[in-house]
C-alpha cells in the first residue's frame, strides 16, 4: 500500500525531468507525461483491487505519527487519487504536447493533487495546496495574452490573501493544540478547539482553503480565469481542483470542527455562493463565463450539503461533487469549440449534432432531471436538508430556486443552438475535446442503471470518511494514545517522548 506515495513522487519527478528530456528526445517528452499518469492510474486501480476497503495510515520514512508525515488512505482518498490520475490523463494538453512547460505543469498539478488527497497532516495539506496553486497559475497563463496575465495576477492576489489566512489559521490551531497531525487534532479538538480561538482558526482556514473551492467570497477570480484560460485548464480547475479543496474542508469539518457554529458558517457561505453564482450566470452573455458562474453556484450547493450535520450531508455533498466532476469538464470542453457570445451560437446544432446533443444531455443532468445521475445527487441534498430546522429550509429553497434559474439560462443556450437559421461553417469542438465530452456523456448514461449500487458504495465511503473515531484508531492503533500527551495549555512536553525514534532506512 505504501506504493501509493508513487502517485505523488513519480509525477513530480517526471515534471522536473521533462524540460531536460525535451531538449534531448522530443518524442519521448511528448509521451512521458501520459505514460507516468497511466502508470499511476494502474497503480491505484491495483491497490483498490487488493485493498479490503479499510483505511490505512502510512508513515512516510518510518517516522511514526504524529512526528512524521502521515498519508491517510481511505476509500475517499483512494477515489480522489484515482480521479486525479484519470482526469489529468483525459484532459492532457495533446495539442500542445510539444510545449514541455505546460506538460510539466500538468504533471505538477497531478502530483500535488494526489498529495492533497492523501495527506493526513495539516501542514502537508498546506504545502500541497500551495503546489496546486502554483501549478494552476502556470496553467492558466498558458495563452500568454494580456488578459490571461491579469486574470492570473488577480487569482494570485486572492490566493495569496487566502494563503496568509490559512497560515494564520494553522498558527492558531497549533497554538491551541501543539500538533498538526489530523488524527491527534481530532483527539484534542473537542476540548481545545471549541473556543473562539479555535473557531477563528476554522474561519481562516476555511477562507484560505476555500479559494480553490470557489467559496464565497474568495471566488471573484473564477469568471475571469475561466474566461481567459484554455478550456482544458478550466476543466481541470473547475472539475478536479475544486473537489480537492472540498475534500480538505471535509476533513476539517469531520475531524476538527463538528460544532454547530462551524456548520452554520459554512451554510451561510454556501447559500451566498449559490445565490451570487446562479444570479450572475443568468446575466452572463458568453458561454464560458456562464459555466464559470454556474460552477460557483454548484460548489455553493456542495458546501451547503457539507454543512448538514451527520453522514447524510457528507453523502449528498460527495454525490454532487462526483457528478459535477463528470459534467463540468465536459461542458467546458464543448464550450471551447463554441467561443464567443451566446448569440453567435445560433444554429450550430445543424453542423454539430453530436456536440449539441451532448450539451443537452449534460445540461439536463446538471439541472437534475431524472433518471440522470444529477437528479439522484440533488435528491440526496433535498432529503438531507428537509429534515433540519429553518436555516436549512431556507437553503433548500435557495438551492431549488437556483435549479429553476439554471434550467432557464442553460436552455437559453440550447434554444440558440437549435435555432432554425442556416449557419455557415463555424468552428466546431476539436475532435479530441468532443471525444472526451462524449465519453463523459456515455459514463453519465451508463451510470443510470447502476444508481443503486453506486449510491450504496458512496454511502459506505461517506460513512467511512465521516468516522472520526475510525480515523483516530487507524492512525494510532494503540488504543488511540498519541506519542505526545497534551499537557497543560496544550504545548507538547518534549521530555515525555523519550529518545527520538531512529529514522528507518
Amino acid at each position: 500500500m505504501s506504493q501509493i506515495a508513487l502517485t505523488i513522487a513519480l509525477p513530480f519527478l517526471a515534471a522536473f525531468l521533462l524540460p531536460v528530456i525535451g531538449r534531448v528526445y522530443e518524442a519521448l517528452a511528448r509521451v512521458l507525461g501520459p505514460l507516468v499518469l497511466l502508470y499511476c492510474l494502474w497503480l491505484v486501480l491495483q491497490l483498490w483491487g487488493t485493498g479490503d476497503g479499510h483505511p490505512v495510515a502510512l508513515a512516510m520514512g518510518g517516522f511514526r505519527p504524529p512526528m512524521g508525515i502521515t498519508l491517510y488512505v481511505d476509500r475517499l482518498a483512494l477515489l480522489f487519487t484515482l480521479l486525479v490520475s484519470l482526469m489529468t490523463l483525459l484532459l492532457w494538453p495533446w495539442q500542445r504536447a510539444a510545449d514541455s512547460r505546460e506538460c510539466a505543469l500538468t504533471l505538477l498539478l497531478a502530483g500535488s493533487a494526489s498529495g492533497l488527497a492523501l495527506s493526513g497532516d495539516l501542514f502537508n495539506i498546506y504545502v500541497f495546496y500551495e503546489l496546486v496553486s502554483v501549478a494552476s497559475f502556470g496553467l492558466v497563463a498558458v495563452h500568454r495574452s494580456g488578459a490571461a496575465f491579469v486574470a492570473t495576477l488577480r487569482y494570485l492576489v486572492i490566493s495569496g490573501f487566502g494563503t496568509v489566512l490559512a497560515l494564520t489559521g494553522i498558527a492558531l490551531v497549533y497554538s491551541q493544540t501543539g500538533t498538526l497531525n489530523l488524527a491527534q487534532l481530532a483527539q484534542l479538538a473537542p476540548d481545545l478547539l471549541a473556543g473562539p480561538v479555535g473557531l477563528a482558526g476554522f474561519l481562516f482556514m476555511l477562507l484560505g482553503f476555500g479559494v480553490k473551492g470557489e467559496l464565497f467570497p474568495v471566488n471573484t477570480w473564477v469568471p475571469e480565469v475561466y474566461a481567459t484560460a484554455p478550456a482544458r485548464a478550466s476543466a481541470l480547475l473547475a472539475g478536479l481542483v475544486s473537489k480537492l479543496s472540498l475534500l480538505v474542508v471535509l476533513r476539517l469539518l469531520v475531524l476538527l470542527y463538528q460544532q454547530e457554529q462551524a456548520l452554520q458558517l459554512l451554510l451561510l457561505l454556501g447559500v451566498l455562493g449559490v445565490i451570487s453564482g446562479e444570479l450572475a450566470a443568468w446575466r452572463a452573455r458568453d458561454l464560458k463565463r456562464m459555466l464559470a458562474f454556474s460552477s460557483i453556484g454548484q460548489l455553493g450547493a456542495m458546501f451547503i450539503a457539507f454543512s448538514i450535520p451527520g453522514n447524510a450531508g457528507l453523502l449528498a455533498g460527495l454525490a454532487l461533487a462526483l457528478h459535477h466532476l463528470l459534467v463540468k469538464p465536459a461542458l467546458f470542453l464543448l464550450a471551447a469549440g463554441w467561443p464567443g457570445a451566446v448569440e453567435r451560437l445560433r444554429g450550430l446544432a445543424r453542423g454539430g449534432p453530436l456536440a449539441a446533443g451532448l450539451f443537452v444531455l449534460l445540461a439536463l443532468s446538471l439541472i437534475g432531471v431524472p433518471p440522470l445521475p444529477g437528479f439522484w445527487a440533488k435528491m440526496l441534498l433535498v432529503v438531507g436538508l428537509a429534515g433540519q430546522e429553518s436555516g436549512y429550509l431556507l437553503a433548500l429553497a435557495v438551492v431549488l430556486g437556483a435549479a429553476v434559474l439554471e434550467a432557464s439560462y442553460l436552455f437559453r443556450v440550447v434554444a440558440q443552438l437549435y435555432h432554425r437559421d442556416e449557419e455557415a461553417a463555424r468552428p466546431r469542438p476539436y475532435l479530441l475535446d468532443l471525444g472526451s465530452a462524449a465519453l463523459a456523456g456515455a459514463v453519465l448514461l451508463s451510470a443510470v442503471p447502476f444508481i443503486s449500487p453506486l449510491g450504496d458504495w458512496l454511502a459506505g465511503t461517506a460513512a467511512q470518511a465521516g468516522d472520526r473515531e475510525g480515523y483516530i484508531i487507524t492512525v494510532f492503533p494503540a488504543a488511540g494514545r498519541p506519542l505526545y500527551s497534551a499537557a497543560g495549555g496544550g504545548k507538547p512536553a518534549l521530555a515525555a517522548a523519550g529518545p527520538l525514534p531512529e529514522p528507518k532506512p
Binding site: F123, S133, T163
Partner: protein, 157 residues
C-alpha cells in the same frame, strides 16, 4: 534576564505585520505594492507560527549542546515556517514575473486600469460589448406597470 513585555512585543509585531500587509493588499492600487504587501503579510503569518511554538526563555532546538530537552523551543513550527517561507518566495517570484508580463502587455500597473483592460479584452474576444458601470445598462429597461386607464384592447398573452 528577559525584559518583561518582550512576548507582547513579538506578538504585536507579528499581528502588526499581518495588519500592515493585509491593509496594503486591500488599499493599494499599484500591483507592485500589492505584491510587497503580500510578502509582508506572509512574513507576519510566519512569525505568528514561530511564536506559536515558542518557549519563552528557552534555547535553540539543537541537540548535543548540553541543554535539556525541556528548555528547548518547539522545533516543529520552525521547520514549517522554513517551508512556508520558501513557498512564499516562490509565489512572489511568480507574481513578479507575471507583473512584468502584464506591464509589457498593458503598459500599466494600476489595478483598476488593468482590470478594465482585461475585461475589455475578454469581451472583445467573445464578441460582446464590454460592460462598464458608467455606460447605460445593457438590455431593455424594466417595464413599469401601466395604469388601467391607458390600457388598450387586444388580448395579448
Amino acid at each position: 534576564m528577559m525584559p518583561a513585555g518582550l512576548p507582547f512585543l513579538f506578538y504585536a509585531g507579528a499581528i502588526g505585520l499581518l495588519v500592515i500587509g493585509i491593509s496594503g493588499i486591500v488599499l493599494s492600487r499599484n500591483l507592485f505594492r500589492i505584491i510587497l504587501a503580500l510578502a509582508l503579510a506572509e512574513a507576519g503569518a510566519n512569525l505568528l507560527l514561530v511564536l506559536a511554538g515558542w518557549h519563552w526563555g528557552g534555547s535553540a532546538p539543537i541537540l548535543g549542546q548540553g541543554k535539556a530537552l525541556e528548555t528547548m523551543v518547539d522545533p516543529v513550527p520552525q521547520a514549517l515556517v522554513l517551508t512556508a517561507i520558501v513557498i512564499g518566495v516562490g509565489i512572489q517570484a511568480l507574481a513578479l514575473a507575471l507583473a512584468v508580463r502584464a506591464y509589457r502587455a498593458y503598459g500599466t500597473l494600476d489595478m483598476r486600469r488593468l482590470r478594465n483592460r482585461m475585461n475589455r479584452d475578454i469581451a472583445a474576444a467573445a464578441g460582446i460589448p464590454a460592460e462598464s458601470s458608467r455606460d447605460a445598462p445593457a438590455g431593455g429597461r424594466p417595464t413599469p406597470p401601466v395604469p388601467a386607464a391607458h390600457r388598450s384592447g387586444g388580448g395579448r398573452a
